[in-house]
């Protein structure tokens, strides 16, 4: 059976479209908000939803996602609660759901128990920013057995050896980090990005999506031209600092719609 992630990329590929991957932090500012948002994000054009698991020490994130993590933790969000929430809305959301975060909450939960419970809840993939393939020896067999895809990252500093390694162990898609830096909006897209993406896409079978620092529809379209999709995170998460309730929902879906339009045109 094809996974939801594979199916989604196959569909997009047939239509000549690019994947819009959108990130929000689970439980920001509370889990009810997240549960209400997910179906609407998918309807508005999110092809894949990345759901951040809040962590006390988000060392790869810039200030915007750090604050989102703090808000979520302040509301008492736990991994158990995130899985229960995903399970409760799973049949209302057509898009694949990928959990993204840091190793310790998952390690604390137990690699195997997590892989099983996540798949049961309807989670499609897992991306841990501080778990390179070298350290994934316990997670990979557990996730394979459970049917959970494990997504790895590559960056402008990754050489051929690392690209091969990720190609061997990764599934779902490949997340290409467009900058050497933390998450957050940037003024412009690097000039060498198209070449870097081409190099990675030539040596890897998985779909390649690019993220970090992409905040506007123009940037999204520019990057998507060289990739199978783009990830937008901090720009969406910023809206959670400015809006609440129904207005937050419509701002988020509005931004997703304009990003999707830019990718389709």
């Amino acid at each position: 059976m094809k996974s939801r992630i594979q199916t989604r990329f196959n569909q997009l590929h047939k239509q000549g479209g690019k994947a819009l991957v959108t990130f929000i932090t689970a439980g920001d500012p509370d889990l009810a908000t997240t549960a209400a948002l997910l179906p609407r994000m998918a309807e508005a054009g999110a092809d894949i939803i990345e759901l951040g698991i809040p962590f006390s020490d988000p060392m790869a994130d810039g200030p915007t996602i750090q604050r989102a993590s703090e808000r979520a933790l302040a509301s008492g969000v736990t991994l158990e609660a995130v899985l229960a929430m995903v399970s409760s809305i799973r049949d209302q959301v057509s898009a694949p759901i990928v959990l993204m975060g840091y190793s310790n909450p998952i390690y604390s939960y137990g690699w195997q128990r997590f892989a099983q419970d996540a798949v049961k809840a309807g989670v499609d993939g897992l991306l841990l920013v501080d778990l390179p393939p070298e350290e994934a020896g316990e997670l990979l067999p557990a996730s394979k057995a459970a049917g959970l895809e494990v997504i790895f990252l590559l960056t402008p500093t990754s050489d051929e050896t690392r690209i091969k390694q990720v190609s061997r162990h990764g599934s779902g898609f490949l997340y290409y980090v467009t900058v050497t830096g933390v998450t957050g909006a940037r003024q412009s897209v690097s000039n060498s990005l198209a070449d870097e993406l081409e190099n990675v896409r030539n040596s890897i079978k998985l779909p390649v999506v690019a993220g970090f620092g992409i905040s506007t529809p123009e940037q999204a379209a520019q990057v998507a031209a060289a990739a199978d999709g783009v990830v937008v995170g901090s720009a969406i998460v910023k809206l959670f600092e400015q809006y609440q309730g129904e207005q937050l929902q419509s701002e988020v879906t509005g931004m997703i719609r304009s990003l999707k339009d830019a990718l389709s045109s």
């Binding site: 778990l131 390179p132 500093t157 050497t180």
Partner: protein
């Protein structure tokens, strides 16, 4: 078996749990270190600075009066407090500074809690002519104003970190974020035997001069090995430096002393080996203070240098294998030991080292008079005068 393995694992601990961007930089560092650790010129230059600049070897002082009062084992103090900059931290920053120089990195960054490692890094940056930025929690900046000023005098930029709990662990997050961003020209000088491989191994090697000297010095006066070694453990660099050359001498007890803060039962402590469980933080797997959901818990200790929720992976492994024992000492016990060593021997220990002294006060009377204990006096107490005065209710 030789530890760590080639991927930096000490048993299940250690490793390299970092964002992908850092992997090539760690590889580059690992290769450079593997080369220079056996390079004659590098070793000579390291020895030169330890001798002429730091003032090594540091004495192994027989605390005769304290020994007599306690009526048990003979107590020897390894005097790292007499090093230039006042603590053992400089042994490591000299080593990493020389490595940074050879790797042509013109900018060094560091995290610091109490400010000792920040000062030691700013010192070698001044010495070797490098640009230096130190990340320090806003809360620690307030508590350690003197060290902040010292770093600035040395030419370093001190960046306040307000995220999270605004203490050492958050400073380390911020240093890692800076490193990810400025990977091409920056060398991250980690101050303890923690973080991703090769740091725990490399810092241990640079600090092992403590144990190598102590072994030789003890042999000279006592004609044999000591019976026990005692050192405080925050991240664990002075303890690892003392213990490492004795790991194979199984007759020597290795005792690490963690900070029990207000007491282990209170929950306000910094004792992951005594009261934590394995977790993943700052690039390594090791014992960690965390809640039931894997969120990192706040540490507490009167000593800013021990106020950290994690611990170096080699200590975790030494605990798992039973080669070393780990105990804990409360804020109050450390304060009492601080005053006692000051009054009895005229030596004012850092609050970190006071934890090791406090445990020695308990241990020595239980041992026969013909046995010996070597205690690592990792730093001097001048920096802690304000904290001690506060705790004793003294106003200036």
């Amino acid at each position: 078996m030789k530890q760590p393995d080639k991927h930096g694992h000490f048993g299940i601990h250690g490793g390299r749990y970092v964002p992908e961007t850092l992997m090539p930089a760690l590889k580059e560092l690992e290769e450079a270190y593997a080369h220079y650790r056996n390079d004659k010129e590098f070793k000579q230059e390291f020895q030169y600075y330890l001798r002429e600049y730091v003032g090594r070897p540091s004495p192994l002082y027989f605390a005769e009066k304290l020994t007599r009062q306690l009526g048990g084992a003979k107590i020897y103090l390894k005097r790292e407090d007499l090093n230039h900059t006042g603590a053992h931290k400089v042994n490591n920053t000299i080593g990493q500074g020389l490595l940074a120089k050879r790797m042509k990195k013109g900018r060094v960054i560091a995290e610091t809690g109490a400010g000792q490692h920040g000062v030691a890094t700013a010192t070698i940056a001044a010495l070797f002519g490098m640009q230096c930025e130190v990340f320090m929690g806003a809360e620690d900046i307030r508590r350690q104003a003197l060290n902040v000023f010292r770093m600035k005098l040395l030419g370093a930029t001190v960046n306040p970190v307000t995220a999270g709990t605004a203490t050492l662990k958050d400073a380390m997050n911020e240093a890692l974020r800076d490193w990810v961003t400025n990977i091409h020209n920056t060398f991250y000088v980690i101050g303890t035997v923690a973080g991703p491989h090769p740091y725990p191994m490399m810092v241990r090697d640079f600090q092992s001069v403590i144990g190598t000297e102590a072994k030789k010095q003890h042999k000279k006066v006592e004609g044999r090995l000591p019976d026990a070694l005692v050192a405080c453990v925050g991240g664990g660099s002075n303890a690892m430096g003392l213990f490492y050359p004795f790991l194979k001498d199984t007759g020597v007890r290795l005792i690490g002393v963690e900070a029990a803060g207000h007491g282990i039962a209170s929950g306000a402590h910094a004792a992951p080996l005594c009261a934590g469980r394995p977790g993943i933080l700052h690039g390594q797997r090791s014992y960690l203070l965390q809640d039931a959901h894997g969120q990192v818990a706040n540490a507490h200790s009167i000593s800013a240098g021990l106020d950290y929720p994690g611990v170096g992976p080699e200590h975790a492994w030494l605990k798992d294998t039973g080669r070393a024992e780990y105990v804990s000492i409360t804020d109050d016990e450390a304060l009492e030991a601080f005053q006692r060593l000051t009054r009895e021997e005229g030596i004012m220990p850092a609050l970190e080292s006071s934890h090791a002294i406090a445990h020695t006060l308990k241990l020595a009377p239980t041992m026969p008079k013909d046995q010996t204990i070597v205690v690592c006096l990792s730093g001097r107490g001048d920096k802690d005068i304000h904290t001690v005065a506060d705790a004793l209710g003294v106003k200036f």
